[in-house]
Amino acid sequence: MSDILTIRGLRVEAPDGTVLVHGIDLDLKTGEVLGLIGESGAGKSTIGLAAMGWGRGGCRIAGGTVAIGAQTVTGERSAGRAKLRGARIAYVAQSAAAAFNPALTIGRQVLEGPKHHRSMGKAEARAWMLELFRALDLPDPEHFGDRYPHQVSGGQLQRAMVAMAMSCRPDILVLDEPTTALDVTTQIEVLALLRRLIQRYGTAALYITHDLAVVAQIADRIQVLRHGKPVELGPTEQVLAAPREDYTRRLVGERQASLAGEPRRHEGGAELLAVDGISAAYHKVPVLSDVSLSLRRGETLAVVGESGSGKSTLARVITGLLPPTAGSVRLDGQALPASYTARKRDLLRRIQLVYQLPDVALNPRQTVGEAIGRPLGFYFGLKGREQKQEVARLLGLIGLDPDFAGRLPGALSGGQKQRVCIARALAAKPDLVICDEVTSALDPLVAEEILRLLRRLQDELGVAYLFITHDLGVVRRLADRTAVMQRGRVVEQGPTEEIFTPPFHDYTGRLLASVPELRRDWLDQILAARATA
């Protein structure tokens, strides 16, 4: 088979001259899927966009060539490149919700490509759209196109975006983390449909993701990237089973560890937190119904569930940000006032919260020292030298140099910011730290370090964690006990080991089965199992 996409010596620069991608060579054959793997900042998306002759946010292709078939993309001016985009090479973004225009129907947006490129007649384009909708298992394909983006689910919208990308029968699809924003159970469907679609129409694809297990299901070959440079290229089996480079080995190793996991066992002290029959609602829409949990001193309780299961709402109720409509929360047997405004300062101190996105959890205009120092001054009256010393000690605890105290969050990496958030929480000497998806926004290797840090801190300080996450790998490595939530209810609760050993609760089993595994045949097995069931 011939090469449909050829990239040679690609170099992309940011407007300020920073080199984002350097020395990239790629070949993509017709019908082949090439996985681009790497952490954030590895240049995966930049390469994907450069394949279309595009640089996001003023980035420009400073060197090298990109060719689609016999046509050199980099040789074309912007009008010529625009003719290729959508027609011969098309893009599927991570967030379908942000990629669709909410004011137009889905069908109109899917048909935009053929109309713009005049590649087919109206009737033909519509027939092709319906075929795609059917191939993508969208409900009521005849009328699906008449709906607006907000009228369909996230998984359906992601599939509709694939249909939009396929609308001109392109030779190449650039899939930029197409399943990352989806829940695990939805991810499987989209992944399976994507694979079927690519095979059926012989489309070549660049599959960009940070998740090795996902790419294992769909890619023929894997290109590992780091800091904009190629690390390793090989057939999927070889990269997963026998990685040549150290960096790849670490990536694979981390993924395997997250799947295996070693359970934790804390004895746990007296009951610290008791959530009793909590119901809560946003503007009269019920989100939580009759949720009861219990957490002992020094142990970790994980709350798992998909988006919309109410797990973050539970955190808001416990912290007092959202007063419940029924039920009560007790700390050390003492009932907590429903709203945080009615809680005494010492009560606020004992429950601390660490957020999912460290970027918005730290005030961009406060230095690290100010952020960590404030709780020290506020709760314990520490000032001046004493405060500085304590800040330095806390920075040491989270593995950062004392001179980080003078830096602004903008000068920190994502992982460092999350460490600072943890230090800020610990500065209050809390009994309970609520961790709301603290690792979801981080790269796998960084997330792994944060988890290790959290475990170590718990052993040293005896703090209890309420760990909210959708990542079952995290749960297995960190939690003594686990509560599984679905649609605002706790469906199962108990020691983590028990939850994760068969026989499973119905929903827990489905969640567990949906976590991609690092085997090529995992998706096939899941699909086969579903077909028989």
Binding site: Y340, R349, L353, V360, N363, R365, R374, F378
Partner: protein
């Protein structure tokens, strides 16, 4: 420190020039504010660089005297409007509920009457003394500052770092001073630059209607009005004070642009 671009240098130079006029204007002026040196609209000479005005007074001297009035009044009014509008706007954003409702509806009520008409009524009723002028302009302007501060405050108040501070138990003063204000600084500086220029033009407008700074004191807006008939005869006289106003406006905006460069982000960036 990053390099200061040429436009910012020009802006800084213009502001420095105006500041010098504000502080030392009367000392620098070659003639008195009210000295009549010749006939109306006499052309420029070696002594009177910009010629004479409609009453035969030295244009340059009056410009220098006028700087104090015009810039002083605008600066005082802008500062006052910010010190009223900012805290109230932030407070409305922070507290929400009835505080927000009462303040916002009050502001809406004031804003639905055109500023010039409100100002005319107040100045007619209370007389056009300098303090009344400044306070009137400041209060009318503070409604706009309030609206901006409120919307900025609301945006920042829902950020997780502000939530973290609230959960820590921080009071309104800390939240406003440490969490909201530093993060709202960029648009507020821009607004200050613009408010200052608008106030300047507003004072000029009031003077034009005879309700601003009263003669014989010179102010740039009033000077444009006083010399306007010169335009009919193709004279430059009214252009000098007009140019002074324009120059300062441009200077302030150049500096504001520079201060904001690199500090603002388009909305939705980094999603």
């Amino acid at each position: 420190m990053r390099r200061i671009p040429l436009t910012a240098w020009i802006g800084l130079a213009i502001i420095a020039l105006n500041l010098a006029a504000l502080l030392f204007g009367p000392l620098l002026a070659p003639f008195g504010e009210e000295d009549i040196l010749g006939g109306p609209f006499d052309p420029a000479t070696a002594l009177n660089w910009f010629g004479l005005d409609q009453n035969g007074r030295d244009m340059l001297s009056r410009l220098l005297f006028g700087a104090q009035m015009s810039i002083g009044v605008s600066l005082a009014a802008s500062l006052l409007s910010f010190s009223v509008g900012l805290p109230l706007g932030f407070l409305a954003a922070l507290r929400g509920g009835w505080v927000d409702t009462v303040l916002s509806r009050l502001v809406d009520t004031i804003m639905c009457v055109p500023v010039l008409i409100s100002a005319l009524v107040v100045l007619q009723a209370l007389g056009s003394s300098l303090p009344v002028l400044i306070v009137t302009i400041a209060l009318l302007d503070s409604t706009r500052v309030f609206r901006l501060a409120r919307i900025l405050g609301q945006g920042i108040n829902v950020m997780e770092y502000a939530e973290a501070a609230r959960l820590r138990g921080e009071g309104a003063w800390w939240l406003i001073r440490k969490e909201i204000l530093p993060n709202a600084a960029a648009p507020l500086i821009a607004e200050f630059g613009m408010r200052f220029c608008f106030t300047f033009l507003f004072v000029a407008g009031l003077s034009f209607l005879g309700l601003g700074i009263q003669p014989p004191y010179a102010d740039w807006g009033g000077m444009v009005k006083d010399n306007q008939q010169g335009i009919l005869y193709g004279l430059y006289a009214p252009l000098y004070p007009a140019a002074a106003i324009a120059l300062l406006t441009i200077g302030v905006n150049l500096v504001v642009d520079w201060l904001l460069a690199g500090r603002t982000r388009p909305q939705g960036e980094g999603r």
